[in-house]
Symmetry: C2
Subunit: 196 residues, 2 copies
């Protein structure tokens, strides 16, 4: 299967905005167990090999994992990715796939391990902190934590977003340019140019 047609404009946007450290920050929306939307900033960690699935990392103890795990295989997310320099917005909508330590698929476990190894020491440290969202622990609970760089902590998860719809808005031109990409049953993509 060739890569999706929205990958080329996304790669171009990443390249043109590469000097902005926050160009890899994306806002990921999910639905809470009470039906309200949730939204938080996550870091794009590249695509899963040979796929159009976006990789992010998360802590199994976080709320978003509870939101993803509630209906396994039927959990949706929408990432909103704004590139300040080129004034482009990608909205990527699709299923979320949680890869925790229990997943048996070898390529997914390899990807989870690779994501752990690619983190900085400080990034790995965050996963050893006391449980997120709980009342603030004493400061010594945050000290002296040096997780093994070659062995992911059990709470370390890879989260994959598998887009089946992408909405690209380019604000540079006036009027703006907007394209919608939709994945078909057979895995191919349709592209429509729509009004902004």
């Amino acid at each position: 299967m060739p890569v999706a047609p929205w990958r080329a404009p996304l790669a171009a946007a990443l390249h043109r905005n590469r000097r902005l450290s926050h160009a890899r920050y994306v806002q990921l929306a999910t639905v809470r167990t009470d039906g309200r939307p949730a939204n938080r900033t996550v870091v794009f960690r590249g695509f899963l090999e040979n796929s159009d699935r976006l990789q992010i990392v998360t802590d199994a103890r976080s709320q978003k994992v509870a939101q993803v795990a509630q209906i396994e295989g039927n959990t949706w997310g929408e990432a909103c990715w704004y590139f300040p320099k080129t004034r482009e917005q990608f909205r990527l909508s699709g299923r979320l796939i949680l890869v925790n330590g229990d997943r048996v698929e070898i390529p997914l476990q390899q990807a989870r391990r690779a994501a752990w190894e690619a983190l900085s020491d400080r990034g790995r440290e965050g996963f050893a902190w006391p449980p997120p969202g709980q009342p603030r622990a004493e400061s010594d609970a945050f000290e002296g934590l040096q997780p093994d760089p070659s062995e992911p902590l059990p709470q370390f998860c890879l989260l994959l977003l598998d887009p089946d719809g992408v909405d690209l808005l380019q604000l540079r031109s006036h009027p703006h340019d907007r394209r919608c990409y939709q994945r078909q049953e057979d895995g191919t993509w349709l592209t429509h140019r729509v009004n902004p």
Copy 2:
């Protein structure tokens, strides 16, 4: 009622990031009619006078209005606001209130009119474009549009987000600092310091 306790750190973040034009861009999550999350970038247009309600503007013909209008009075949103310079994230969760031309409350109509007048000519022009999301119209449909700056087009809406929960994450320090603010029944706010 005094302003909410998260207003001071938000005002400080806005001030410290004021040189970034996109510091007023916020990602707003809602839930689609099919239960999937939606997420898009919107522009913060200040607070509604004498309130903690965030103002944004939108087109009645857009999907987000369909999402807000579906269950009037019971529609939730979560804004995720990341400030690149100070490395702070505000997540603001609450009810969405749509102010279209039919709303009879005079202060809300005044706020809608003021928001229209505050737009640039180009900003107002966008509301006169052919319906968003429809197949791309011919280019002449986007030309010669000069809506009256003193009279909002019928499709022009003010959208208010009335936060009842705010989650502030500050990434500058290591470990990070995180505070949750919750509005109580009586309108006062509780603040908790939690693990990041």
